[in-house]
């Protein structure tokens, strides 16, 4: 079946989105046809708005619509504690726990030679610039427990130690069990990982 041109164009645009195949793209496009004009306009405006107004925070490189992001600007937060993550979505994940009161640093990826990503492609220099004034006393490395995440964490840990010695404490987040999962065979890989890392960094 061939669609009318504007509809075909919308389907094609949806198909470019991650995780959207041809079938889902069609379903979304037909859904848009069914919703009210106001709803459609709200959606279009939200898309444009996010592109115009969301920037990266010049300090932590999280997304923000302010000059400085809400977390960096919050005097109530512990400015001596810094959590290093790969992507902005990882900030959201840690924030959701409501447990952490320090600041963040978003690297913008992880070291992966196979993808041509070395330390220089990440915001590691910017991290060291933040550490230079001595406010930060502890850095928590919270990259994912993949080979690439571990490589990145170990690389940064070594660099911090050689630059700042004992003045900055470095810890690796304890990647443990997903909440609510029972510790049966299915979680063995996670458990083993936790064990493998128990003395590391």
């Amino acid at each position: 079946m061939r669609f009318a041109k504007p509809l075909a164009k919308l389907v094609a645009e949806f198909e470019k989105l991650p995780g959207i195949g041809p079938k889902s793209a069609q379903r979304l496009a037909f859904h848009i046809l069914r919703i009210s004009d106001d709803q459609a306009r709200a959606l279009a405006e939200a898309v444009l708005d996010v592109k115009e107004r969301i920037k990266t925070c010049p300090v932590c490189f999280n997304f923000t619509d302010q000059e400085l992001c809400e977390i960096c600007a919050d005097p109530e937060r512990d400015h001596s504690l810094l959590c290093v993550v790969a992507e902005p979505r990882d900030v959201a994940a840690v924030e959701k726990t409501n447990e952490y009161r320090g600041l963040y640093h978003v690297l913008g990826g992880v070291i992966s030679p196979m993808d041509g990503i070395g330390p220089d492609a990440l915001r590691i220099q910017e991290l060291f610039a933040r550490l230079a004034d001595g406010t930060v006393r502890e850095v928590i490395l919270a990259t994912n427990p993949t080979i690439e995440g571990d490589t990145t964490a170990m690389y940064i840990a070594r660099e911090i130690r050689s630059t700042f010695g004992d003045n900055v404490r470095v810890t690796r987040i304890a990647h443990g069990m997903p909440v609510g999962s029972d510790m049966d065979y299915a979680d063995q890989a996670t458990l083993i990982h936790a064990l493998q890392w128990r003395r590391e960094i």
């Binding site: 030679p113 041509g116 080979i147 170990m154 070594r158 299915a186 063995q188 493998q196």
Partner: protein, 371 residues
């Protein structure tokens, strides 16, 4: 453990098969290319999610079909009974299911149905390249140790990353410092892999010696030794890790020029000797075959010991590989409490009586009938 129902759909030359095997010994007789080996292959596939005959899953799908399905009911003594299933599709790839629940991680699937297979490929393992012996170690250890499977997959990924980093360093596109965490990770997971291999081979050596005595005439003595890529010193994970780190540091310059890692368990080997003489280069064909079979029977004993119940034994075309005396030895072993599947082109060539309780089935053009 026992397989008490096998279903195949569009698997190799089976269009549709519903097969209820005997609880103990199953002798599968048929001419070549009728589906004898494919039946054993299906069981092996359900156990490991891989074929022992091909690396390409698509070859398992019947010609002209879009998908294949293999499933089996497994009765187990120390764990709950399960239904294990693999669905293959030319488009969507492979799904592994246990009790109809999809398992996305290999460690959650492999090791639920334990099988030990002996086929012509195992003789190759004895006389061929070191890579074949490492493959043997990896497959066996993955079945009995989730830790091993995990450490191995992490090791392989790290190795890929390090090899690429070496190439980048060589052309000046990456800093030497990038190698340091990769060396550390490689040594950590490499040490886990090597310690497990060392433990397994120490056990295998003892059990294979015993199995070999049951197969060979005279007073031949088989020895199986681990030949690790670096000295393992005391043999604990820390010592091995340090040994690997030293090796990696020593070879770093060479590795950078070559763009590949020359130290690590991906360079391990296993040495087999009969009365002190290397089996790979100096043994007769008969001795090589006995060695391969002894290793497999020993493996079955080790799986039994570590899993706490007997694996299913798959003996593919033993007549082609073994003389009458060794065939008897193999079948007598199978009769020691294993469910077994033994294929043969002719019943006369097989000392079936040794098996005791037995079901005999004929396979012809993808159909199985009881004789």
């Amino acid at each position: 453990m026992q397989v008490d129902h096998i279903c195949l759909i569009h698997f190799r030359n089976y269009d549709k098969l519903d097969f209820i095997p005997h609880q103990r010994a199953n002798v599968i007789v048929g001419r070549n290319a009728q589906g004898k080996s494919a039946l054993l292959e299906a069981l092996y596939f359900l156990s490991t999610s891989k074929s022992h005959r091909t690396n390409r899953d698509s070859e398992l799908i019947q010609l002209g079909s879009e998908y294949a399905r293999a499933s089996a009911n497994v009765r187990r003594e120390t764990r709950p009974d399960i239904t294990i299933e693999i669905a293959l599709s030319r488009v969507q790839g492979k799904s592994c299911l246990i009790d109809n629940k999809k398992k996305n991680r290999l460690p959650d699937f492999v090791g639920q149905l334990n099988v030990v297979i002996f086929s012509s490929f195992d003789v190759e393992m004895v006389r061929g390249e070191p890579a074949l012996r490492r493959r043997f170690l990896d497959l066996e250890l993955s079945q009995i140790s989730a830790h091993y499977l995990y450490a191995l997959s992490r090791y392989r990924r790290t190795l890929e990353q390090r090899n690429r980093a070496l190439k980048l360093v060589n052309i000046g596109q990456a800093h030497l410092k990038t190698l340091e965490p990769l060396d550390q990770l490689l040594a950590t997971y490499g040490a886990s892999v090597m310690v497990k291999r060392g433990e397994f081979l120490a056990k295998l050596n003892i059990t294979a010696q015993e199995a070999y005595r049951g197969l060979a005439a005279g007073n031949e003595m088989l020895e199986v030794n681990y030949k690790p890529c670096v000295p393992m010193a005391g043999g604990g994970p820390e010592e091995v890790m340090r040994s690997l780190l030293n090796g990696l540091a020593e070879k770093r310059d060479v590795d950078i020029v070559r763009g590949s890692t020359s130290i690590g368990p991906h360079r391990d080997d296993v040495e087999m000797r009969i009365n002190g003489v290397g089996v790979r280069d100096y043994a007769s064909q008969g001795q090589q075959r006995s060695t391969a079979l002894a290793l497999k029977l020993a493996e079955a004993m080790i799986v039994r010991e570590s899993v706490g119940e007997s694996p299913v034994l798959l003996l593919d075309d033993v007549c082609a590989e073994l003389d009458m005396q060794r065939r008897s030895g193999a079948l007598a072993f199978a009769a020691r409490g294993f469910q077994s599947f033994v294929t043969t082109t002719s019943l006369e060539e097989l000392p079936v009586g040794v098996l005791g309780e037995v079901g005999v089935f004929e396979v012809s053009a993808g159909a199985v009938t009881q004789l």
